[in-house]
């Protein structure tokens, strides 16, 4: 037996690492999206008194209000998703550490058993 070989990585650790990587990537992308959506919300028409449309102004303004509202909801959802994903990253990091620790403990137990 090669006593100097790295201990085998458990399936649980591999899965935890993959999950953590995926969530970290998703979080990074969501943060970029948030910046862009925030800018887009600022670039939307904000006027609510458009005299040049005459009678059509009321319908236009209602629709414009809906547009602005939906853009705000999109930003709120992204902010919520960002918070959730950030929480997931913290939790998955802890779980990965625990899986690694468990794997190391198991490997040590195996090694100690073999040594005896």
């Amino acid at each position: 037996m090669d006593l100097y070989a790295a201990p085998p990585v458990s399936d649980a650790v591999v899965l935890a690492e993959r999950r953590l990587d995926a969530v970290r990537e998703a979080l990074a992308r969501v943060r970029v999206l948030l910046v862009e959506v925030d800018w887009q919300c600022g670039a939307l028409p904000q006027r609510r008194c458009l005299t040049w449309l005459g009678d059509a102004a009321q319908a236009y303004e209602l629709k414009l209000g809906e547009l602005i509202g939906r853009a705000g909801l999109a930003r709120t959802s992204l902010e919520q998703a960002e918070r959730e994903l950030a929480g997931c990253v913290d939790r998955f990091e802890r779980e990965l550490e625990q899986a690694k620790a468990a794997g190391a403990a198991a490997a040590a137990a195996v090694a100690n058993g073999g040594a005896r």
Binding site: R29, V37, P45, A56, A71, A74, L78, Q80, E84, L85
Partner: protein, 512 residues
């Protein structure tokens, strides 16, 4: 000055407000931005598919964000479409209104002429035309330095800076033939039918034809055009001669419409009226040219040595008439001088040219842009009569400026227009007799042209910037003078070198 401007011309969208343009631009941005954003949220969801548990509410929140972004894109597209429809509606309405105004003005002019003939109190029917006409006369007197006793200069100034004064002046110009027809007793149907085809340029052509006939018989200098010469007074050529060096101080190409406008000569009597910039690119490539022309300097109707004078103004408007060839009329002295200066500076037929002109200079660059024998790729007319059909022309005008209208009321098919109502109003117009026409006011408006996001203007601006970008600039300035009356015959259609349709940009024989 506020950002309250209008851009129009070049299509069915004949009128748009600055507010509407800005709104449409923002909606277009949202439509084209939010769709891809929704797709990118989908990509994030695809990444999270690899992790099917323990994600809390992140996935439903992302699904919701994707839906809302898709809706934003859809609604923005829908509202943008409505704006376009509204703009087109405005365009149709403007065209109909312009036709109605034109017919009304024709009828008013005919009635005015008839009233004068019948010795009826003219004021009954003259209406605003009388007021505008009186104001124009008073302005002319003021510019000539004559202030009749009892003339209320401030009242005149208020009249000539009314918003819309330019359009009124244009309709008066267009209606001169109807007025004459009314005075001669020509039936209304015939007068309006024929008069509808005769525009301000035709009226100016008839006026120039008559004045030339009078000048031939009497020797009068009234609106009597003559040959013109140009001489270089500044720029690299003189520096080379003075220092014996071909090395010149580098100049930066203008980077904005406002910077181009700053380079238009101020137009003091005796100073250069024309500035020419040569832009050299790669070896073997023909240079590009930018020409700047100032406005009218001498307002006397008697043609003197100053090439930028009232006679040249009227002659340039007249040259646009279909009657010009039949009457043997040539472009005004200012336009002929600009062509000569370009030739003397080294421009050849086919070279790309961009022109910037103020007032009469604007009229000159508009005429150059309208000349198919020249390769004018862009021109900006600040406050000059510029109702030509050149698509590469941008007419910039103030509502409070009567001068642009003196070439006739604008047409629906006119080139790109950038129109501004000065804000704050001209309560303190200063010493300039027509403050809405001041070159400094137009230079400030040039900054608005730079700031607008209207797509047609943005494209125009981009073309100007690319025209000079990265090229080496050399400049020259030119004085244009009409030759003394006893030294030259009036220009005629037979004097081929000055003909605008000639292959060369201008003759070289008159350059010294």
């Amino acid at each position: 000055m506020s950002g309250d401007y209008r851009v129009s011309g070049g299509g069915t969208t004949a009128v748009e407000s600055g507010e509407l343009i800005d709104e449409a631009w923002r909606l277009g941005l949202a439509e084209h931005h939010c769709g891809p954003l929704a797709e990118r949220v989908s990509n994030v969801l695809g990444i999270l598919d690899r992790t099917d548990t323990g994600l809390g509410r992140s996935v439903p929140e992302l699904v919701l964000a994707r839906y809302q972004l898709g809706e934003v894109a859809r609604i923005a597209g829908e509202l943008g479409g409505r704006l376009t429809e509204a703009a087109e509606g405005y365009g149709l309405a403007e065209q109909r209104l312009a036709a109605m105004r034109s017919l009304t003005a024709q009828g008013q002019a005919w009635l005015t002429g008839l009233s004068a003939r019948l010795a009826l109190p003219a004021a009954v029917v003259l209406g605003p035309a009388l007021i505008e006409g009186a104001a124009l006369s008073a302005l002319a007197l003021k510019l000539l330095g004559i202030e009749p006793a009892g003339l209320d200069v401030e009242a005149v100034r208020r009249v000539i800076t009314w918003p819309g004064v330019g359009e009124t002046a244009g309709r008066i110009g267009d209606g001169a033939d109807e007025l004459l027809a009314g005075f001669l007793g020509v039936p209304a149907a015939l007068a309006l039918g024929v008069g509808g085809r005769l525009k301000a340029a035709d009226d100016a052509a008839l006026l120039m034809g008559v004045s030339r006939a009078v000048a031939t018989v009497t020797g009068s200098a009234l609106l009597a055009e003559r040959a013109v010469t140009v001489r270089r007074v500044g720029g690299v050529g003189d520096r080379e001669q003075a220092t014996g060096s071909s090395v010149r101080a580098p100049l930066d190409p203008p980077a904005s419409v406002a910077e181009f406008a700053e380079r238009i000569p101020d137009g003091r009597d005796g100073d250069a009226q024309i500035r020419i910039e040569r832009y050299d690119g790669l070896a073997g490539e023909r240079p590009r040219w930018v020409v700047y022309v100032t406005g009218t300097i001498d307002f006397s109707p008697l043609a003197g040595g100053q090439a930028l004078d009232l006679t040249a103004d009227i002659a340039s408007v007249a040259a646009r008439s279909e009657l010009a060839d039949a009457l043997g009329l040539q472009p005004g002295a200012a336009e002929r001088a600009v062509r000569q200066a370009l030739t003397a500076a080294g421009a050849e037929p086919g070279d790309e040219i961009v022109g910037f002109g103020y007032s009469a200079g604007g009229e000159v660059v508009a005429n150059l842009a309208d000349d198919p024998s020249l390769n004018v790729v862009g021109a900006v007319n600040f406050g000059g009569p510029g109702e030509v059909e050149a698509s590469q022309l941008l007419n910039v005008r103030h509502d409070e400026d009567l001068v642009p209208g003196t070439g006739g009321a604008h047409r629906a098919e006119a080139p790109l227009r950038f129109e501004v109502r000065l804000d704050p109003p001209l309560d303190d117009p200063g010493d300039f007799p027509a403050p809405g026409h001041a070159i400094d006011a137009y230079r400030r408006t040039a900054a608005l042209v730079d700031a607008t996001s209207q797509p047609d203007v943005v494209a125009f601006r981009t073309r100007l910037a690319e025209f000079v970008e990265g090229r080496t600039l050399t400049e020259s300035t030119w004085v244009a003078e009409r030759v003394p009356a006893d030294a030259a015959a009036p220009p005629s259609a037979g004097s081929a070198p000055t003909a605008p349709a000639a292959a060369a940009i201008s003759p070289s024989t008159d350059v010294r």
